[in-house]
C-alpha cells in the first residue's frame, strides 16, 4: 500500500481576520481549549458553592437553615454530576486535550477544526440546559448523580416535574458534544502526527488523553441509551426501568420493568468514566514529574501499556458498584477479581512515578508540588478502593461515608490537584507570562492539607456506619454524638479550602497582566509544545515548517549533552547524543 507520511496532509485551516472569528467562533484548537476550560471552571465553581451549602447543613444543622431537605438532594445531585462530567471530563478532554494534542504531536490543528468548534458550542448548550434546571418548577433533579430509577422519576423525588428531564437532555447533548470532539482527538493522534513522532515517542499526557477519549467514545453510548430509555419512562410512560410500585398508597402506572438494567447500563458507563477522568491525570502527572525532576520518566513503555491496560480492564469491572443491588454471587466473584486485577497496572504506575523522583534533581516548583501531592492522595484513594473491591468488605461500607472518602480522594482531589498542577505548568505557554510563585505555593499547601482535613475523617465516619446522602443525622442511635463534632470540623475545613481557591483565581488574573514575561521554555522542557516559534503559539502553531522529531519526550539530564534537556526536535549530534528510543 502506498506510504502516506504523516505530515503530508494538513487540515484546511481557516484564516480569520475579525475579532469574532478569531476569539469567539474560532476554529483554532487553542482558543477552543480555553473556551472549554473557562466554561468548565465556571460550572465547577457552581458545584463548589453547592458543596459548601451542603457542608454548612451537615456541620451545623441547628445554626443554619439555608437549605431544605429537598434542596439538599438537589444540590448533592448537581454537585456530583457537574464535577464528574461537566467539569472534569470537559476540562481534561475538551480543555487540555484540545490544547495539548496538536501541539504535542506537532500538528497545525485538529484534523477537522470546524467539527471541533461545534463541539464546544454544543457543550455550552448542554451546560445551559443543565443550569436551566435551577429555574424550572420543582427545581433540578434530586435523584443523586447515579440517577437510579425508580426513585429518579417517582413522585416524591425533588425535580421530578422537569429537572430530571432537563438533566437527561443535557447529558444527551453533552454526549453529542463529546463525540464530536472525541473523534477529532483520536483521529488527530492516530493520523496527524508530525514526521518522526511515532506513537511510542508521544508524551504520556497525549497517551492518557487519547486512551481516555477512546474510553469515552465506547462508554458514553451506554449513558446515552439509558438516558433515552429513562426519558421515555418519564415522558411516554414506558416501563423499561420501572417495576410495579405502590407509592404513597397509590399504584403507579408502571409495570414490569427492570431497575437493575439501568444500574448495569449506568455503571458500564460509570466505571470507565472514572478512568476517563483518571487517565489524563495519570498522563499529565507523569510529564510534570519528569520535567521538574529533570529525569526521564521511569519505564516509559510500561507506563503506556499500563494506561492502555487499565483502559481495557475498566470495561469489565462495572458491577463492583452493584454488590448490594442483588446479583448472582458468581458475578460478585468475577467482578471482585477483575477489580483487584486493575490494581496491578495502577500500582505499576505509582511505583514508576516514585522511581522517577528517585535521585532526581527535584525542583519544588508549584506544578511539581501538585504532582507530588497527587501521588499521596491517589495512593490513599487507591488503597481504599482495594477494600471496597472485595464483596464482603464492601457490603457494610457501601453507601457510607467511606465510599465518599474513597472516590473523593481518588477521583475528586487527585485529578483536581493535577488540573491545578497542569494549569500552573502550561500557564506560561498559554499566556506568555509567569504566575506568582509565592501565591502558588500558598495555594498548594492550603489546598493539599485542607483536602486531607476534609476527607481523612470521613473514612472514620464510614466505619461508624454514617450513611451518605442524608440531610441530618439526629436520632440515629448507632451514630455517637461525637460524630457531629467531626462533621463540624470537616465543614470548617471545607469552607477553608473553598476560600483558598480565591488565591488561585487572583493569581491567574493578576499574572495575566502583571506577571513577568516567561520566555518560550521556562521549565527547560523537551516536548514540542515548548518549541513553538511564538509564545503563546499563534494560529497554525508552527510557522512555515512542521517540526521534525528525532527522540522521545524524556531526554532530561542525558550524560554528555550540553544542557540538561534535549528537545524532541533536536537532531542527534555530539552535543545532543542519541538515546535509544
Amino acid at each position: 500500500m502506498a506510504y502516506v507520511a504523516l505530515a503530508d496532509r494538513e487540515p484546511e485551516l481557516s484564516h480569520p481576520h475579525s475579532f469574532i472569528t478569531k476569539y469567539i467562533w474560532s476554529q483554532d484548537h487553542k482558543v477552543i481549549a480555553i473556551q472549554y476550560g473557562l466554561t468548565a471552571i465556571a460550572v465547577g465553581v457552581v458545584a463548589l458553592i453547592l458543596s459548601v451549602m451542603m457542608r454548612l447543613q451537615l456541620g451545623f444543622p441547628d445554626s443554619f437553615s439555608l437549605i431544605s431537605p429537598s434542596e439538599y438532594y438537589q444540590f448533592v445531585t448537581m454537585h456530583g454530576m457537574i464535577m464528574v462530567i461537566y467539569l472534569l471530563t470537559a476540562l481534561f478532554l475538551g480543555g487540555f486535550g484540545n490544547y495539548l494534542i496538536p501541539l504535542m504531536v506537532g500538528a497545525r490543528d485538529m484534523v477537522f477544526p470546524y467539527l471541533n468548534m461545534l463541539s464546544y458550542w454544543v457543550y455550552l448548550l448542554s451546560v445551559i440546559i443543565l443550569m436551566a434546571s435551577f429555574f424550572v418548577t420543582g427545581g433540578p433533579t434530586g435523584a443523586g448523580w447515579t440517577l437510579y430509577p425508580p426513585q429518579a422519576i417517582m413522585f416524591g423525588t425533588p425535580g421530578v416535574e422537569a429537572g430530571i428531564v432537563l438533566m437527561l437532555a443535557s447529558l444527551a447533548v453533552f454526549i453529542v458534544a463529546f463525540t464530536m470532539g472525541g473523534l477529532n482527538y483520536v483521529t488527530t493522534v492516530l493520523q496527524a502526527r508530525t514526521h518522526g513522532m511515532t506513537l511510542m515517542r508521544m508524551p504520556l499526557s497525549v497517551w492518557g488523553i487519547f486512551t481516555a477519549t477512546v474510553l469515552g467514545l465506547l462508554a458514553f453510548p451506554a449513558l446515552l441509551v439509558s438516558a433515552i430509555m429513562m426519558t421515555f419512562d418519564r415522558l411516554l410512560g414506558t416501563s423499561f426501568f420501572m417495576p410495579a410500585i405502590v407509592s404513597m398508597g397509590e399504584q403507579s402506572a408502571y409495570d414490569g420493568g427492570s431497575p437493575i438494567l439501568f444500574q448495569h447500563l449506568f455503571w458500564f458507563f460509570g466505571h470507565p468514566e472514572v478512568y476517563i477522568v483518571a487517565l489524563p491525570a495519570f498522563g499529565i502527572v507523569s510529564d510534570l514529574l519528569s520535567t521538574h525532576a529533570r529525569k526521564n520518566i521511569f519505564g516509559y513503555r510500561m507506563m503506556v501499556w499500563a494506561i492502555v491496560g487499565i483502559g481495557g480492564l475498566s470495561f469489565i469491572v462495572w458491577a463492583h458498584h452493584m454488590y448490594v443491588s442483588g446479583m448472582n454471587p458468581y458475578f460478585g466473584f468475577f467482578f471482585a477479581t477483575t477489580t483487584l486485577i486493575i490494581a496491578i497496572p495502577t500500582a505499576i504506575k505509582v511505583y514508576n512515578w516514585v522511581l522517577t523522583l528517585w535521585q532526581g534533581n527535584i525542583h519544588l516548583t508549584v506544578p511539581m508540588l501538585f504532582a507530588i501531592g497527587f501521588i499521596f492522595t491517589f495512593v490513599h484513594g487507591g488503597l481504599t478502593g482495594i477494600f471496597l473491591g472485595n464483596v464482603v468488605v464492601d457490603l457494610p461500607l457501601s453507601d457510607t461515608y467511606f465510599v465518599i472518602a474513597h472516590f473523593h480522594m481518588v477521583m475528586g482531589v487527585s485529578p483536581i490537584l493535577v488540573v491545578f498542577g497542569a494549569i500552573y505548568h502550561w500557564y506560561p505557554k498559554m499566556t506568555g507570562r509567569m504566575y506568582n510563585e509565592r501565591l502558588g505555593q500558598t495555594h498548594f499547601w492550603m489546598t493539599f492539607l485542607g483536602t486531607y482535613a476534609i476527607y481523612l475523617p470521613m473514612h472514620y465516619l464510614g466505619f461508624l456506619g454514617v450513611p451518605r446522602r442524608y440531610f441530618a443525622y439526629e436520632g440515629i442511635e448507632f451514630i455517637p454524638e461525637s460524630a457531629q463534632d467531626l462533621n463540624a470540623a470537616i465543614t470548617i475545613a471545607a469552607i477553608f479550602v473553598a476560600f483558598t481557591q480565591i488565591i488561585f483565581f487572583a493569581n491567574m488574573i493578576w499574572s495575566l497582566f502583571k506577571g513577568k514575561k516567561a520566555g518560550s521554555n521556562p521549565w527547560g522542557s523537551t516536548s514540542l509544545e515548548w518549541q513553538t516559534p511564538n509564545t503563546p503559539p499563534i494560529h497554525g502553531n508552527w510557522g512555515d515548517e512542521l517540526p521534525k522529531v528525532y527522540r522521545w519526550a524524556y531526554d532530561y539530564s542525558v550524560p554528555g549533552a550540553e544542557k540538561d534537556f534535549i528537545p524532541q526536535n533536536t537532531p542527534p549530534s555530539d552535543k545532543a547524543p542519541e538515546t535509544n528510543t
Binding site: 506510504y3 453510548p221 446515552l224 439509558s226 414506558t238 402506572a253 521534525k548
Partner: protein, 227 residues
C-alpha cells in the same frame, strides 16, 4: 531513524507484524484518509449505542411479567387473502440490502471517476432508503391503529411496544439522516465537486455509513422480529 524509516517504505510486512510495523512507525496508524478513519471510529462508537439498545431490549424482554407478543403474528399481513407472517419486514430487509448493493457500485464507479453513473447510483441508494423509511412509517401506523403504544398494547407485555418504537425509531432516524446525507453527496458528485478535487473519497465515506446502517438492521431483524 527518520531517513531509515522513509527508505523502508516499500517493505510493508504482511498480517499482524504489518499492523505492528504500521503502528510503531512514524506514519498514519491507518493508511486511509482522515475522514475515513474518523468515520470508522464513529461507527465503532455507534455500534456500542445499538448494542446497548439491543442488550437492554433483550434484558427487558426476558424479565417481563406478562408474555411477549409473538412477532411473526404481530407483523403478519394479509395480502390477496393470504396470511403471510413478516412479509413487510422481509421486503424492507430486501430493499435495504439491495441499497447496499447500489451503494457499493457507486463507490466503484466513483473510483473510476465516472461522475454521472456515480451520482445516479447514489441517488438510487437514497431512494431505496426513502422507500424503506416509507414502509416503516406504514408499519408504525398499522401497529398504532391496532392499539400498540409505547406504554402498552393489547397483545401482551407493554415493553413490546416500548422497545419496538424506540429501536426501530432510532434506526429509522439513522436511515433518514443517511438519506439526507446521500442526497447531498449525490448532488455534489453531480455538480462535479469531486472531479475538481480529483478525489472521490467522500463517496466511500458515505458508503461506510450506509453499509453500517444496513448491517445494524440485520441485527435488529434477527433479534427483534425473528426471536
Amino acid at each position: 531513524m527518520a531517513e531509515q524509516a522513509l527508505s523502508n517504505e516499500n517493505m510493508v510486512a504482511e498480517g499482524f507484524s504489518g499492523i505492528a510495523q504500521d503502528w510503531s512507525d512514524e506514519k498514519q496508524a491507518f493508511q486511509v484518509p482522515w475522514g475515513k478513519a474518523m468515520m470508522w471510529i464513529f461507527l465503532l462508537s455507534d455500534t456500542f449505542i445499538f448494542s446497548c439498545f439491543l442488550t437492554g431490549y433483550m434484558h427487558v424482554r426476558m424479565n417481563t411479567t406478562i408474555a411477549w407478543p409473538n412477532p411473526s403474528e404481530v407483523f403478519a399481513l394479509t395480502v390477496f387473502g393470504a396470511h403471510i407472517p413478516l412479509i413487510l419486514i422481509a421486503i424492507m430487509t430486501f430493499i435495504l440490502i439491495s441499497s447496499s448493493g447500489t451503494m457499493a457500485m457507486a463507490v466503484n464507479f466513483g473510483y473510476r471517476k465516472n461522475r454521472k453513473v456515480t451520482a445516479a447510483l447514489i441517488a438510487a441508494t437514497a431512494l431505496f432508503g426513502l422507500s424503506f423509511v416509507g414502509m416503516q412509517a406504514f408499519e408504525w401506523s398499522k401497529l398504532i391503529e391496532e392499539g400498540v403504544r409505547p406504554w402498552g398494547n393489547p397483545m401482551g407485555a407493554a415493553q413490546f411496544g416500548s422497545a419496538f418504537f424506540m429501536i426501530t425509531g432510532f434506526h429509522g432516524m439513522h436511515v433518514s439522516i443517511g438519506v439526507i446525507y446521500l442526497s447531498i453527496i449525490a448532488f455534489k458528485v453531480y455538480r462535479g465537486d469531486y472531479d475538481k478535487k480529483d478525489n472521490y473519497e467522500a463517496v466511500e465515506i458515505a458508503g461506510l455509513y450506509w453499509h453500517f446502517v444496513d448491517l445494524v438492521w440485520v441485527f435488529i431483524f434477527a433479534f427483534f422480529y425473528l426471536w
